[in-house]
């Protein structure tokens, strides 16, 4: 392991553009940085991420290095910061994922029940409305719902007219049924 003053000298050379000093500086700093990150994050993968981010930042900002200052102190301070950032990010992620999971469970329980109820009420209402139509109009509505298309033009025109009349009657039926407490309504 390199002594601190030798490491400072090597890093000053890196900051000056000496690429030959890069490898020895990296080799001397990475294990110490990784150890600090592992102690803070407690996880192997998180420590790897934090140590990598530390080394990238350290060399990215090497031009800011002032000769005579301790590069080890700088690197370890960066490592503590990066490790805490990774830990906080993980905590936020786990908190968010548990909240999302709980919400999904609530939605699984609640929404289908509402939808089922609404669908059931609508089906009953529609069945009642169609049952009140004349048999000819009922046939026209069922043909439309099933996508039946008459082969000849005359049949298509007849079906269109019956469908229009059925729709008018259905609109009237719904208007009567859904009008709120009108005393004049039958």
């Amino acid at each position: 392991m390199l002594p601190a003053d030798e490491l400072d000298g090597l890093f000053a050379r890196v900051a000056d553009g000496d690429r030959a000093a890069f490898g020895p500086v990296f080799g001397a700093l990475y294990p110490r940085v990784h150890a600090v990150c592992a102690r803070i994050t407690g996880h192997g993968a998180d420590a790897d991420d934090a140590a990598q981010a530390t080394m990238v930042k350290l060399f990215e900002q090497s031009h800011r290095y002032e000769p005579g200052r301790s590069v080890l102190g700088w690197a370890l301070a960066l490592a503590v910061w990066e490790a805490r950032t990774v830990s906080r990010s993980n905590q936020r992620r786990s908190a968010r994922s548990s909240t999302e999971l709980a919400l999904e469970r609530v939605e699984d329980l609640g929404r289908p029940a509402d939808e089922l109820l609404a669908d059931h009420e609508l089906e009953q209402l529609l069945e009642g409305a169609i049952a009140d139509l004349s048999p000819t109009h009922q046939a026209a509505v069922h043909a439309t719902l099933r996508g039946f298309i008459p082969a000849d033009a005359a049949g298509a025109a007849t079906l269109r007219k019956q469908r229009q009349r059925a729709l008018v009657q259905l609109r009237e039926w719904f208007t009567r049924r859904l009008r709120p407490s009108d005393p004049r309504s039958p």
Binding site: Y30, Q52, S62
Partner: protein, 194 residues
């Protein structure tokens, strides 16, 4: 984790750190190169050869970028090189200003501008040698400093054509060649002026 994957991971992290280091150096060198822009603007405003000046400006910016990105002695030569470039550029522009619009008419141009360019070239060469004398490895300093001085001088001397630039380069070479040979051969630490 076994040794081989751990070594691979370490190599990958080191490669990433090296990339970040080189990119940061390149970005910083680009910022340094932008400091040349005011000189380029002045040159374009004062010298009537925009094409030549633009080419020289590009060459100067590229030289500054390369020297700053490379670092070490190349980067340390930048102050002296830019000072030399300013000196040669300023000498040519000043001579032209003293003589009025001599370059357009041709009157008196060779009497004033060419000697001014030659003198500035010699001084820039001397500045380069003095600066390089402080370095253990003088050649990168001489190369960077001399090229920046020559480009700056060529930008300024372009107004009188090749004669001014040629005189400046010859004068600079007359100082640089013996000075450079002495610097390379001397044992490091020898004082320039005994």
């Amino acid at each position: 984790m076994t040794t081989a994957p751990m070594m691979q991971m370490l190599e990958a992290v080191q490669a990433r750190a090296e990339r970040a280091y080189e990119l940061a150096r390149a970005r910083r060198a680009l910022q340094s190169a932008l400091w040349v822009l005011p000189l380029v603007v002045v040159a374009l405003a004062l010298v009537e050869r925009p094409f030549e000046v633009s080419l020289l400006a590009l060459a100067m910016m590229a030289s500054v970028w390369l020297a700053d990105w490379r670092g070490k002695e190349w980067g340390r030569a930048l102050p002296a090189g830019l000072a030399g470039g300013l000196l040669t550029f300023g000498a040519a522009i000043s001579a032209r200003w003293v003589m009025g619009d001599c370059c357009a008419s041709g009157d008196g141009c060779s009497h004033w501008c060419v000697p001014a360019c030659a003198t500035a070239g010699g001084l820039a060469g001397l500045l380069t040698v003095i600066d390089a004398a402080r370095a253990a490895n003088p050649l990168p300093r001489i190369a960077t400093s001399a090229s920046l001085s020559a480009i700056g001088g060529a930008m300024g001397c372009a107004c009188i054509g090749y004669a001014g630039a040629g005189a400046m380069l010859i004068a600079m070479s007359l100082v640089l060649l013996p000075g450079g040979i002495w610097l390379v051969r001397r044992p490091f630490g020898t004082e320039l002026v005994p």
